[in-house]
Amino acid sequence: MKKLMLAAATLALTAGMGLAAPVRIASEGAYPPYNLINDKGDLDGFDIDVGNEICKRAELECVWVKNDWDSILPNLKSSNYDAIMAGMSITDERKQEIDFTQNYLPPAASAYAALSADTNVGEGAVVAAQTATIQAAHVAESGATLLEFATPDETVAAVRNGEAQAAFADKDFLEPVVAESNGELSWVGEDVALGGGLGVGIRKSDTELRDKMDAAITSMKEDGTLNGLIEKWFNETGMYFGPDGTGVPKAEAKITPPAS
């Protein structure tokens, strides 16, 4: 009996070694079009499409994990998953804690949305932003009063009900919200460029995974697939990758639409 159990144990061990562990990627699912829960109840969005393509090219088996935004970094650090693709901007502050791949979306503009276009968003204004985002940090430093919410959706709700004078978030997130508000919401002031674009967040101790994913992103940039995915998920005015890897307008970019 004992022998049998031992044999079973070795079998399980070798089986575990032969199979490469899947890479677990976390996303929030509450930040369309970057990541969202579609009506089937699955994760969907730009992050997910890019992630799947990266995994295909790097020959990794990937699994998606839903995780709330406010605990998304701690859970990466305690190895509950291996990567974050949740519309996370590359910033110096985050770089001290985790590693990023090169960006898979050029530095995107953040923008203020408010009930009227001449709203004050500087000194003395109350501006809503999602907790622990670069936008929240920017508002705190801008002299405006920061009103923090756990999800990006609540920031827009706060503007609608007048609790905050403006919401500050990624422009690509606010774009459909403003467009579909029937003129209720409008843009305020100039767009603000924050961060170094979106990157895949990876533990500092996990350099192997970072290099693999980096290589995959490079190849996606070269053949224009990444631009194809940007075209699929974002509107016309968004930024695309130029031949040298910097952000360029759509007209100057090489775009390969996704296969399906």
Binding site: I37, D39, K40, G41, K77, N80
Partner: protein, 292 residues
């Protein structure tokens, strides 16, 4: 779900609503009610067990054990439960993985690399190769454990009080009969204590029900998570665009909890009546008199 739901944008009124309420996300929302009930069903007995251990430890004659029991029972009085929930699951997770890493991994590699907590693949819980449901189940397991530890401390308070309420004369008589402490506990103390413990335990059950919305802080996709997710306003990039409907979803949750507490209250009142029957307590005496 229904055939006619293929193109939601063309639907209107009740038909639209019937499709909306049976979408995949809503199915997961309904299932999350089951998650809450499951948590209650699993946590209650485990917490009772923890409470039992805690109460016996607090009465122990071995000082370290007694101190442990006293501290355990006292902790819920001083510290809000939500504070425990914020770090107990992480602490447990890291503790389990640390212990496993001492067995399965190369022990010369530190688990703390900078601020990263890393153990080798063999010590990972659950293993990275495990199917997704294992990861969900493990997260749920941690939540159950965190709830059980906190509510075990509450239960220990109740049971400790109940054990002290058993008349001293009963225990003295047992001692006079030459019973050992173990025998006294098993034969005299524990059987008699239940009648005193039930009111406190019923109250505890009500507190437990009302603590379940905190599940979403523990990363479990419970009804609060889905209510926030589904109620948030949806732009037309979704199949079922709608404005902010969180109020309605939270009203539904409120009704769920009111029902849960109302039913529990009714059942517990019956149970109490059943238990006090024939007991030498005030309520038992009142019942006897009423019948006579």
């Amino acid at each position: 779900m229904f055939e006619y739901c293929a193109d939601p944008k063309s639907l209107e009124g009740l038909v639209w609503l019937s499709c909306y309420l049976t979408s995949g996300t809503h199915m997961q929302f309904y299932a999350s009610f089951g998650t809450v009930l499951l948590l209650l069903a699993i946590t209650a007995p485990i917490a009772l067990l923890f409470g039992f251990g805690g109460a016996l430890a607090a009465r122990s004659q071995v000082p370290p054990l007694r101190w442990f029991g006293k501290i355990y029972t006292a902790m819920v009085r001083g510290v809000p439960d939500i504070v425990f929930f914020m770090f107990v699951p992480i602490a447990l997770d890291q503790l389990f993985e640390y212990l496993r890493s001492r067995v399965y991994c190369d022990t010369s590699v530190p688990v703390r690399q900078g601020s990263d907590f890393v153990v080798c693949a063999a010590a990972k819980l659950p293993r990275a190769t495990s199917p997704e449901w294992m990861h969900d189940a493990y997260g749920f397991f941690l939540a159950v454990l965190a709830f059980s530890i906190v509510f075990g401390a509450f239960a220990a308070n109740v049971l400790y009080g109940a054990m002290n309420a058993v008349p001293a004369a009963q225990l003295e008589t047992a001692e006079a009969y030459g019973m050992t402490r173990r025998q006294m506990n098993r034969r005299i103390l524990i059987p008699q204590m239940w009648a005193y413990a039930v009111p406190g335990l019923s109250n505890l059950w009500m507190i437990l029900i009302k603590a379940t919305p905190l599940l979403f802080l523990l990363g479990v996709e419970d009804i609060v998570y889905w209510a926030r997710q589904l109620g948030a306003s949806k732009t037309s990039s979704f199949a079922y665009p709608h404005p902010d409907w969180r109020l309605y979803y939270f009203l539904a949750i409120l009704i769920f909890y009111l029902l849960m507490t109302a039913i529990s209250e009714r059942v517990l009142r019956r149970l109490m009546r059943h238990l006090t029957k024939g007991q030498a307590t005030l309520a038992g005496e009142a019942m006897r008199k009423a019948a006579a």
